[in-house]
Amino acid sequence: MKSEENISIEQLKTGEGGIIISKLDDLLNWARLSSLWPVGFGLACCAIEFMSTASSAYDLDRFGVIPRNSPRQADVMIISGTVTFKMADRVKRLYEQMAEPKYVISMGSCANCGGPYWEHGYHVLKGVDRVIPVDVYVPGCPPRPEALIGGFLKLQEKIRTESIMRPKGLEKLMKKDAV
């Protein structure tokens, strides 16, 4: 067995063999916000910006964001583009297939509120939040890659304040039942 005196300076520097003390909430939140895997799908021109954000110039990878091609393995859904009524059913199903905890980023004017189709677009859903709950809205038409990265940072901020002891969704639901 190694005694305290036998640990070298090098080992102390790297923390090898040491112990870190943290809150479980912080540990879970840190793990979640450091590996946000989005579902790899796009709907319209916003998807081009999403792809560009994932490319080497903007490098979403540095935030631990890696697109996954299955909703079962994904944590985030980026609604990147115009959601038609035909697509809305599919978007909803994809969202339902994702495992908890799951988050949604609504990217661009179309997904936020219908965008340029708000008045005459009979076929366009006027905001994806009519079908699934949205965590972060990114404005723009389409938003630049920096804006999408900003959206991810906002989502990270949100996740950082979560707590498994007080799940907000459940509390809301309990309140509804009481009334």
Binding site: F85, K86, D89, C113, Y122, H123, K126
Partner: protein, 160 residues
């Protein structure tokens, strides 16, 4: 071969098919009676002198309630002869039905489905006349002048 030659060729084979012409259209247009559209298209497709082997576009059009007609517009092109031609057919707005030309040009298949989807023009003899863009359970035909979108779709409000 010029527009006049194409016209006289059709007149020779089907004397009752041509209702008029529109020389201001680009390319110049023949207005065809709806009962003859399949026959005229077949003729123009088969004839060696015209050989319209490509249907560049098929469009539907609503002339409004006042006029009471829907239109189908065929843009033909002959690749070997470098010939352009437009065919126009007027249909009754209350019962818009016309023969499908999808057997002559496969292109017409999806184009006719689009005209059916957005204007409600029925193409008899079409192998698979379903909506092509909108969901199957959509109500109404959006490109009609008097179209009013439905209130709800799958329990979601349609309006802003």
């Amino acid at each position: 071969m010029q527009f006049e030659d194409v016209k006289s060729l059709v007149e020779l084979e089907e004397p009752n098919a041509i209702l008029g012409e529109d020389l201001n259209a680009t390319p110049k247009a023949l207005i065809i009676h709806k009962d003859f559209i399949y026959r005229v298209c077949e003729l123009l497709h088969i004839n060696e002198k015209t050989y319209f082997d490509s249907l560049s576009c098929l469009t539907g059009l609503d002339n409004g309630e006042e006029k009471g007609t829907l239109e189908v517009i065929y843009n033909l092109y002959s690749i070997p002869h470098d010939l352009h031609l437009t065919l126009r057919v007027e249909l009754d707005r209350s019962n818009p039905e016309i023969d499908s030309v999808s057997e002559i040009w496969r292109t017409a298949d999806w184009h006719e489905r689009e005209a059916y989807d957005l204007l409600g023009i029925k193409f008899s003899g079409h192998p698979d006349l379903r909506r092509i863009l909108l969901p199957d359970d959509w109500e109404g035909f959006p490109l009609r002048k008097d179209y009013v979108e439905q209130e709800m779709y799958h329990e979601v409000k349609v309006k802003y």
